[in-house]
Amino acid sequence: MDILNAIILLLNYIFIPALTYGSQLALGAIFVTLIYGILRFANFATGDMMSFGTMVTILFTWYFQSLGISPGILPTALLAIPFAIIFMILYMLSIDKFVFKYYRTNKSPPVQLAMVSIGVMFVTQAVVRIIIGPSDRRFFDGEKFIIKAREFKEMTGLNEGLALKSTQVLTIFVTIVLVSLLFWFLNKTKTGKSMKAYSDNEDLALLSGIDPKKIVMITWIIAGILATIGGALYGLDKSFKPFTYFNNMLPIFAAAIVGGIGNPFGAFLGGYVIAFSEILLTYAYKKFFMYMLPESMEPESLVQLLSTDYKFAVSFSILVIVLLYRPSGIFKGKVL
């Protein structure tokens, strides 16, 4: 019984939250990695592009809510996301046309493109704040829990409750579907393969008749989809605040690099590596040991490796270690 309790405890406080957070990071990390692999620069506007997509989602959600359209127990935002994606893709393509294209055709060094992306970051951040303001916003509606902690306790008779939020299930489900579609696209279709070829060796790809304009356009479209969905899922699960999105850029970068930048599958797993290590290292295991050990050996302290204040620091330290010992990432990306 105690073992069951301990397992439920870990599931409730570590496994499910980490899986959710990891999925949100993974979508962002694939976004970063795709831009890096194909357009060859580190996109510092990642977090703010995601917040832009979320903002459009929220605006559409409000519009639908005012019309009274609602998908029942599911959040209204799900209906809004497709429209937001279209908007986001238009935004991304126009940024590319007016800003990034010039540097790409001039074959500027990656550092210059990264600097330009900082300019885009400032502008996007301003646009988001001017339109929707910097405050915290929740836009979740519909059924909040799939399993409530109290119901679970009554059902099983255990001491530990397992709470399953619908946003958590939604996040994990959508991520799995989206990522499988993406990998199918990249590995099986002709366009996807040509994208990979372009990422591996630009000159060879051009020689074999791949149209770079098309590749770049498709990259931005995929990026728009990932940014909107990733951002909206994070906003549904926690809340929408432009500053948090900007900060999320940092663990997303860490995930992309840990997974091997330029490698979408690595980025996907990197998201989970970062999320799990953050939560595993900062969780207080006192209760877990209380279940697992006999009473005489129960720990006095919280049995916490690091205080939760250092959550971000954990992922950054992992990144530094990976950069030192395996600069191409865990799953071989581009060699630095």
Partner: protein, 456 residues
């Protein structure tokens, strides 16, 4: 003279703008903008040394700024005796343990060949060391933080004049840069950017949460000043006489004696805060000028030539026998140290240390906008960038408000869109910075005052 015309013109426009602020808004605002412009200029010089001279990208400016600020606290605050007696021994113990740990790792690194075994044992030493330190320091930290937590709750500093912290801040930041440089300088440019950005976040996390050292988010307020206090000035005779002399024309118009006294009091209060700001301006200007002379000398010295050679073609410089790695590390340390000075200056001016206020937007990316806009590789350009960008950053809101009112003049005040726009005026500064950066990068990629190398 002729070839420096654009430099002189740019600077006179800038000074003119600040004077205009003084005339139209108030001299207080103008001087506080000017002071922060000077501090920004110091930061920009640091970043410019790294980026403009050597092509090293450092997105960790925030971390070095915060370390400089920490130095200001540790130097100027009086030591808290009770805290030292409560937990000082434990802290010193842990410090000693850290030193032992570093020495052991160094020994292993020197003694054994590179192998998996070595890597794992080093990892084991680090992990067990951290655990050991945590356990040994825990009671001490708790005891220290329990000492009058509303007022102190930390070890305090050395109680020296705060001006020393400018030098100590440089050493702190340089020390961190040495470690970061050893770890990260081998990386390619954009990875270096990300790595330094993340490391600076770690530094901020530590400063925010190690309350025994920095008081964390409880902030340290009321730091010592290198300049006189306004309250003291207002009761000092020579200062009142000075203000009276300065404003004699204005005062003579008022015939009523009590009215004149009231006006004088008002002028003394205003004058005292202007005077204090002027003191700071003098100090900061001295630092800027000293740094400018040093960096100019360095830029045109053989060393500066070597740095440019390394920046423009690393391999060729390497083939000429220049030690690229060593020089990169050196310039990384120098630039970061200058940023550290600026961090200490900033805290000195504010008189308080607020770890929660260190955010990458303000302390890293804004500084980079300054460097790019001003002109990388050119010290005068970097300083100008600091001035222009800080000025716009502060004055963006009034400018945006003016523009909104101008373009929506026909729309009534109650219009929802207009009200919303006026409410979000503060965020137009981000828009202005972003557009400025994008336009400069596109149409004048070398900045307002481009790098100019004279060969004599």
């Amino acid at each position: 003279m002729r070839k420096n015309l654009n430099v002189i013109a740019a600077y006179s426009i800038m000074i003119g703008l600040i004077i205009l602020v003084g005339i139209f808004q108030s001299w207080n605002i103008a001087l506080s903008i000017f002071n922060l412009c000077l501090i920004s200029a110091v930061m920009t010089m640091g970043a410019n040394i790294q980026w403009g001279y050597a092509g090293l990208i450092n997105f960790g400016i925030m971390g070095y700024t915060a370390l400089g600020g920490l130095a200001a606290v540790l130097i100027s605050v009086d030591p808290v005796q009770e805290a030292w007696s409560a937990g000082g021994f434990d802290i010193l113990m842990s410090l000693w343990l850290i030193i032992v740990m570093v020495l052991v790792i160094r020994f292993i690194l020197k003694r054994f060949e590179k192998s998996k075994m070595r890597t794992y044992s080093i990892a084991a030493i680090i992990i067990s060391g951290i655990l050991l330190i945590r356990f040994s320091a825990e009671p001490g930290i708790e005891a220290i933080e329990a000492v009058d937590p509303a007022k102190t709750g930390f070890l305090g500093g050395f109680g020296l004049p705060i001006i020393f912290s400018w030098i100590v801040g440089a050493f702190f930041a340089g020390g961190l840069a040495f470690i970061v440089g050893k770890v990260a300088l081998g990386l390619r440019a954009d990875y270096l950017a990300i790595a330094t950005l993340l490391i600076s976040e770690i530094v901020i996390a530590i400063i925010k949460h190690e309350d025994w050292l920095t008081r964390g988010v409880k902030n340290v307020i009321g730091l010592k000043r290198p300049a006189p206090y306004e309250v003291d000035l207002q009761t000092t005779d020579w200062f009142i006489n000075l203000v009276e002399k300065f404003n004699s024309g204005k005062l003579e118009i008022i015939s009523n004696l009590s009215d004149r006294q009231a006006a004088l009091n008002q002028l003394v209060i205003e004058g005292s805060s202007v005077f204090v700001k002027l003191c700071y301006s003098g100090l900061f200007l001295t630092v800027v000028i000293i740094l400018l002379i040093l960096t100019q000398k360095a830029l045109y010295s053989p060393w500066g030539r070597m740095m440019r050679a390394i920046r423009d073609n690393e391999e060729a410089a390497n083939a000429m026998g220049k030690n690229v790695v060593k020089q990169h590390l050196l310039i990384f340390i120098l630039g970061s140290a200058i940023v550290g000075i600026a961090g200490a200056m900033l805290v000195t001016q504010d008189g308080l240390f607020t770890p929660g206020s260190y955010r990458p937007m303000r302390y890293t990316f804004l500084i980079w906008v300054m460097v790019i806009v001003g002109g990388s590789g050119n010290n005068f350009g970097a300083i100008l960038g600091g001035f222009v960008v800080w000025f716009l950053w502060i004055e963006a809101a009034p400018i945006a408000l003016f523009l909104i009112n101008f373009f929506t003049a026909g729309i009534p005040e109650t219009n929802a869109l207009k009200a919303h726009l006026i409410e979000s005026v503060p965020y137009f500064r981000f828009l202005m910075m972003g557009l400025g950066l994008l336009l400069i990068m596109r149409y004048r990629p070398k900045g307002i005052l481009p790098e100019k190398i004279e060969i004599k």
